[in-house]
């Protein structure tokens, strides 16, 4: 994130796009847990950032600014999807989020992440993947640093439990299959 500090969104937006595309995509993907929607939202993030590029103030690195736009956009996207479930099917045909989660989260860690709420996922990815401090995450998510700390702790506790249960289940299953094969 520090390497993008020298890029100015007002004059070097194309370079910023090329440099930050993947990290912004991954932050959004962590929230929506679906690759196609994440790609579309990443493009939309850069469109919004381009429109607001002259209002950017260098108090935070451009990467953090872009992530904030992207994560807010992703959370709004999920809210619209959630709202759409209450509308009659003829008015709005929204895909079921749980289907996405099931389809894309095939491995143990993916499943454990899918269990988390979008806000917990965003905090966990920004902390453990992007390596941001709690204060930096607080500025990206627009919440106090204490809230970030509690979200990370909660997310890790849930993930440890989910992964542990899943691994135990796999061990039990493989032993059962082994016992079957041995007979």
């Amino acid at each position: 994130m520090t390497e993008s500090r020298e890029l100015d969104p007002a004059t070097q937006f194309k370079q910023l796009y090329d440099q930050e595309y993947l990290s912004v995509y991954r932050s959004i993907r962590a929230v929506v847990m679906e690759s196609a929607a994440a790609e579309d939202l990443t493009q939309e993030t850069f469109v919004r950032a381009y429109r607001a590029r002259h209002r950017y103030t260098p108090t935070a690195p451009p990467g953090a600014w872009l992530r904030r736009i992207g994560i807010n956009l992703a959370i709004s996207h999920l809210r619209r999807q959630k709202l759409a479930r209450f509308l009659p099917a003829r008015l709005y045909m929204a895909p079921d989020r749980r289907d996405y989660d099931r389809a894309e989260a095939r491995d143990v860690v993916g499943k454990a992440m899918a269990v988390l709420s979008p806000k917990l996922r965003a905090a966990v990815v920004l902390h453990y993947y992007d390596g941001l401090t709690r204060e930096e995450i607080a500025s990206v998510l627009g919440v106090p640093a204490g809230t970030v700390a509690s979200r990370i702790a909660k997310a890790v506790a849930i993930m440890r439990k989910t992964i542990g249960n899943d691994q135990d289940l796999d061990t039990t299953r493989s032993r059962s299959e082994g016992a079957l094969r041995g007979r």
Partner: protein, 95 residues
């Protein structure tokens, strides 16, 4: 009828440590790669096809509403219309 062993020899669940979870998250997120990748022409098309930003729309709409309300007040008070005009009062005099 095949025999299926349903007993686990290990009790409880084996939770990974926080460091393990951190490593797993990094590995998982590293595997997330977009199918298309960066598409600058698509950005330019989206920018060109989109209208003015919501910020411009809200500011213009707010200014227009303020102008309409002030103009309505001035016209109403100048022409003695509605609540701004002279109100008829019923006077009952006892003779």
């Amino acid at each position: 009828m095949p025999y299926v062993e349903d007993k686990t020899t290990r009790g409880g669940f084996s939770s990974p440590s926080e460091a393990d979870v951190s490593r797993m998250i990094r590995a998982e997120v590293d595997s997330w790669t977009p199918r298309r990748g960066p598409d600058w022409p698509d950005i330019l098309i989206r920018i060109a096809s989109s209208g003015p930003s919501p910020w411009v729309i809200y500011t213009t709409a707010s200014a227009a509403l303020a102008v309409i309300l002030i103009a309505a007040f001035l016209v109403g008070s100048a022409l003695d219309l509605g609540g701004l005009g002279l109100q008829p009062a019923q006077v009952h005099l006892n003779h």
